[in-house]
């Protein structure tokens, strides 16, 4: 970030000369609050996603600890049942939509453009907008905690008729369910916009020579996840629109008395909900596919097969939604078909596991902290996968449905899978993002505490489930034989909590006091390691030319060729005016605030306010369009330092 000092003097002159209407004067701050509020830099947007996601990860974790305290002993009175319902609803909603998805989005934002050799995403302002809209959705979902309505209490999949006015209004004016509807709707807008941007970026902004089959696997998984998001979110958008119509305008979509079919909600929800599972796990698989080759000192085994199996998982993921509904009586043919399709997904997933093992095979393994988390991922994700195949068999699922066995299963794939991989990713890319290296001792300690705590918490839940303990019950009787495993699980949850606390304490310590990482600390293989750390705002002083799949590895082993090529390209680029940078803008934030206001009023059934919010949103979008993309040029100097020249654009 040594570019900061050069910014101001030039920029004022240039903007005065442009004579733009004052409304469209582009902000030029490079530090301070304004620079963050108006940023269009994919790295800053990524950091904002990351910090928000980690905040909500801690909130969701705190909710989980409250749940575990309540369940530690039979007939506990620690929480009221109503509060318990709110906690399990918000724990799931928070962890899925406000922690794991945005943490993946943080990596998509920060790492993906670096991996394809791009200087930003295709639509930088839209990228900032996606983040602000995400934050608006997160606020709407959580605002219930601070008002009389309290938080949503309908479960994260909000089955009809629990969401109908008859069942979800404890008192007149209880808007907790409306907040849930609007919150998810707004988060959907954010995810779809972000994903459209990533799709265009990956397809269109690749550096010369970066063919599709040279894309790093993480970038491939970003692309597949983005497609899953844009194709699956419309289903929940419509389900939520229909629910909103039921609640606000007395339609009968899910009202049994009017001929509505509650089962339709389940179908629409899971048409989204199952691809969502892969939206949570595919980025994790991408991260693992980056970490394993780096620390096994070998190229990824069977790259095309790994990419293809990721695509097949995404494709098959659209055809298995009804396995969440085996007990609804769909009929033998539908049940059998969905059962078979579900088992089929185990094939590409297994292929990936074998490819990872193939990558490790005969490698010179370096057992660093990210590697530990990655290896933990393979093992824990496999356990979750095995219990997953168990409920793919419809008769077995009829027994496991709505029991703690299912709770154990999805926590193994979500924590043992997604979260382990995301924690691995944070460790892996920390030196790149902040320029400091996390202590191996403390990193490994946090890994082992998390690993032990996670298994102590969730392994006993398999037995609880098979012994018949239903999920979502605030209390259980002491004579059911569930006391010991529940107590062990609660102890495990606290161990897991301590592990997470160590993990983040180490991160915070390292951010301030850690040792400097130096360039390319892991001897990486992909392009993000080719740049200095922390990365300059223009990413690449010279747009790289890609000659091989492990692009940076090739560069390191063909230094003469690459140096000559870079000099040539640098000359060509400065002849074109230097590095083109997008201008920051206020309008993404403005438009998102309009959406926030409109949605809060809509959740309150105040249509005048909602229309005003809509008008603000529209106004923001119009000003955004009139403002134009803007842009200025920078001139990179050899190592990281650069001068802005603010040539008029």
């Amino acid at each position: 970030m040594d570019t900061i000092a050069h910014a101001s003097p030039h920029s004022h002159e240039a903007h005065a000369a442009e004579k733009r209407p004052w409304l469209f004067t582009r902000p030029t701050a490079k530090t301070g609050l304004v620079s963050w509020l108006t940023t269009v830099d994919h790295k800053r947007v990524g950091l904002m996603y990351g910090f928000s996601a980690l905040f909500f990860f801690l909130v969701g974790g705190f909710e989980a600890l409250l749940i575990r305290i309540q369940l530690a002993v039979p007939n506990n009175t620690f929480l009221q049942h109503q509060t318990y319902n709110e906690l399990f609803t918000m724990h799931a909603t928070t962890m899925i939509f406000l922690a794991v998805m945005p943490l993946s989005a943080a990596f998509f934002n920060y790492i993906m453009p670096l991996q394809i050799g791009a200087r930003d995403v295709a639509f930088p302002r839209l990228n900032g907008f996606a983040f602000w809209v995400f934050l608006a959705g997160a606020i709407i979902l959580n605002v219930g905690w601070f008002i009389r309505s309290s938080a949503p209490d309908i479960g994260w999949f909000g089955y009809a008729p629990l969401t109908s006015k008859a069942y979800s209004n404890q008192f007149a004016g209880d808007i907790s369910t409306d907040l849930w509807v609007m919150g998810l709707q707004i988060l959907g807008v954010s995810s779809v916009i972000g994903s459209l941007n990533f799709i265009v970026t990956i397809i269109n902004l690749r550096a010369p020579g970066m063919t599709m089959m040279r894309l790093p696997v993480f970038t491939w998984m970003t692309l597949i996840t983005a497609f899953l998001i844009i194709l699956s979110f419309p289903a929940i958008t419509i389900a939520l629109v229909e629910l909103m119509m039921d609640r606000n305008f007395d339609t009968g979509f899910f009202e049994i008395s009017k001929g509505g079919l509650p089962i339709l909600w389940q179908h629409l929800f899971w048409v989204f909900g199952h691809p969502e599972v892969y939206i949570l796990i595919l980025p994790a698989m991408g991260i693992i596919s980056e970490i394993l080759p780096t620390f096994a000192r070998k190229p990824l085994f069977g790259y095309p097969i790994v990419v293809f199996s990721g695509a097949s998982i995404g494709f098959l993921g659209f055809g298995v939604w009804s396995h969440h509904m085996f007990t609804t009586g769909m009929g033998a043919v539908a049940t059998a078909a969905f059962s078979l399709a579900t088992m089929a997904i185990a094939v590409p997933t297994g292929v990936k596991i074998f490819n990872w093992i193939g990558t490790l095979w005969n490698g010179h393994l370096k057992m660093t902290t990210p590697m530990m988390f990655a290896l933990g991922f393979i093992w824990m994700f496999m356990i979750g996968g095995f219990s997953g195949v168990m409920h793919a068999a419809a008769p077995a699922d009829a027994q496991q449905q709505d029991s703690y066995f299912v709770v154990a299963h999805f926590h193994y794939v979500l924590i043992g899978g997604s979260v382990f991989a995301l924690l691995a990713g944070i460790h892996y890319w920390f030196p790149l993002i902040f320029g400091r290296k996390v202590s191996e001792f403390w990193g490994k300690l946090s890994f082992w505490v998390i690993f032990v705590g996670f298994n102590v918490t969730f392994f006993p839940m398999h037995f609880l489930g098979l012994n018949g303990m239903p999920r979502r019950t605030a209390v259980y009787d002491g004579n059911m034989g569930w006391n010991t495993p529940n107590f062990i699980a609660t102890v495990g949850a606290f161990i897991l909590g301590i592990g997470i606390a160590i993990y983040f304490a180490v991160m915070i310590y390292t951010y301030f006091k850690g040792t400097n990482a130096g360039r390319d600390p892991w001897d990486g293989r992909t392009l993000e390691w080719a740049i200095p750390n922390p990365p300059p705002e223009y990413n690449f002083a010279v747009t790289p030319t890609v000659h091989a799949r492990d692009a940076f590895w090739y560069e390191k082993h063909h230094t003469d060729e690459i140096t000559k090529e870079k000099v040539r390209h640098a000359l060509a680029e400065s002849a074109h005016g230097g590095i083109h940078m997008p201008s920051p803008s206020w309008f993404p934030l403005f438009t998102a605030i309009g959406m926030l206001i409109g949605s809060l009023f809509l959740a309150n059934h105040n249509y005048t306010g909602a229309i005003c919010g809509g008008v603000l949103t529209l106004l923001g979008a119009y000003l955004w369009a009139f403002e134009g993309p803007g842009g200025y040029h920078m001139h990179a100097e050899p190592e990281g330092s650069a001068k802005d020249s603010y040539t008029k654009h």
């Binding site: 442009e18 004579k19 733009r20 209407p21 409304l23 469209f24 295709a122 639509f123 779809v192 459209l196 941007n197 799709i199 265009v200 397809i203 269109n204 902004l205 690749r206 970066m210 844009i230 194709l231 699956s232 979110f233 419309p234 289903a235 958008t237 419509i238 389900a239 629109v241 229909e242 119509m245 305008f249 007395d250 339609t251 009968g252 979509f253 009017k258 001929g259 509505g260 079919l261 339709l264 629409l268 048409v271 529209l618 119009y622 369009a625 009139f626």
Partner: protein
């Protein structure tokens, strides 16, 4: 902008694939929108297959002549949209404006028909959003499509207003653009109110003088608005808008054609199927 033919509209050298970013974005968005309408149309069909006892007889509600007319108008608006893209790709700003205005006009006729239809169904045929499941699915589905058309019209109006942005950046234009836009919106609303009022008067065999007396404000606003819009439209200064913006109009056109195609599906599935 007079350098017609200097821009290659089918290949963008700055992207990896040669497809312009905006076009690729729009295609991906439309893929998403397909799923959106897919879910809504499925909901409608599921409830037609499982309609509860006491559901209205749908073929007695619809007026297939009116809907066929508005469908035809919407299809023709796509033709004008395509002509607008074509004109701008040749750098013909004036002809682009005319075609944009035509597209807007046809889109508004479609929306007017929908407003008339909804009003007619609610008041004459007793079909409301909440009194039957058919009403719920019908209004939600066609209303969502109507919102898509309305967003398309707003976008077209913005594009039209933007085409007057002067080439010289030192000239003030923002306030003028705002006035132009709001004038457009107000005139449109007033014009629609006038036409719908006229249709109502003709239905009720009300004398035209009485109709004019009742709708003085709407008629007056429409006439003044149209005059001012015409005055705004005669701008002689050189403008920034030109061949380079063809991609913007083309992306908007993709959206417009898509909304049109969705209507063909809705017309077939929601309306025509009822007559089988």
């Amino acid at each position: 902008m007079s350098h017609a033919g200097t821009i290659d509209h089918h290949h963008d050298a700055t992207t990896s694939t040669g497809i312009p970013n905006k076009k690729l974005f729009m295609w991906a968005f439309l893929a998403s929108d397909c799923m959106f309408f897919g879910a809504l149309i499925s909901t409608h069909l599921i409830y037609r297959l499982h309609s509860p006892p006491g559901s209205p007889v749908v073929s007695k509600i619809f007026s297939i002549e009116l809907t066929s007319f508005s469908t035809f108008i919407l299809l023709m608006s796509s033709l004008l949209m395509a002509l607008a893209v074509n004109s701008l790709q040749k750098g013909l700003v004036k002809s682009t404006r005319h075609n944009l205005l035509g597209t807007i006009f046809f889109g508004l006729i479609f929306l007017g028909c929908q407003v008339y239809e909804f009003n007619h169904f609610v008041h004459e045929k007793d079909l409301t959003l909440s009194n039957s499941i058919f009403g719920s699915t019908f209004y939600t589905l066609t209303g969502t499509h109507g919102c898509h058309v309305a967003i398309g019209v707003l976008w077209l109006v913005l594009m039209y207003v933007r085409s007057f942005k002067p080439a010289d950046p030192s000239r003030p234009w923002l306030a003028r653009a705002f006035v132009h836009f709001f004038l457009f919106v107000i005139t449109t609303v007033a014009g629609m109110a006038t036409v719908l009022g006229l249709v109502h008067a003709l239905h009720e065999h009300e004398p035209l003088v009485e109709f004019a007396g009742h709708n003085l404000l709407a008629i007056g606003t429409t006439i003044v608005g149209l005059t001012l819009l015409t005055w705004f439209g005669f701008s002689r200064q050189p403008v920034e808008f030109g061949e380079a913006n063809a991609i913007d109009v083309e992306s908007m056109g993709l959206y417009w054609h898509f909304v049109d195609i969705v209507w063909i599906v809705i017309f077939t599935v929601v309306y025509l199927l009822e007559y089988l």
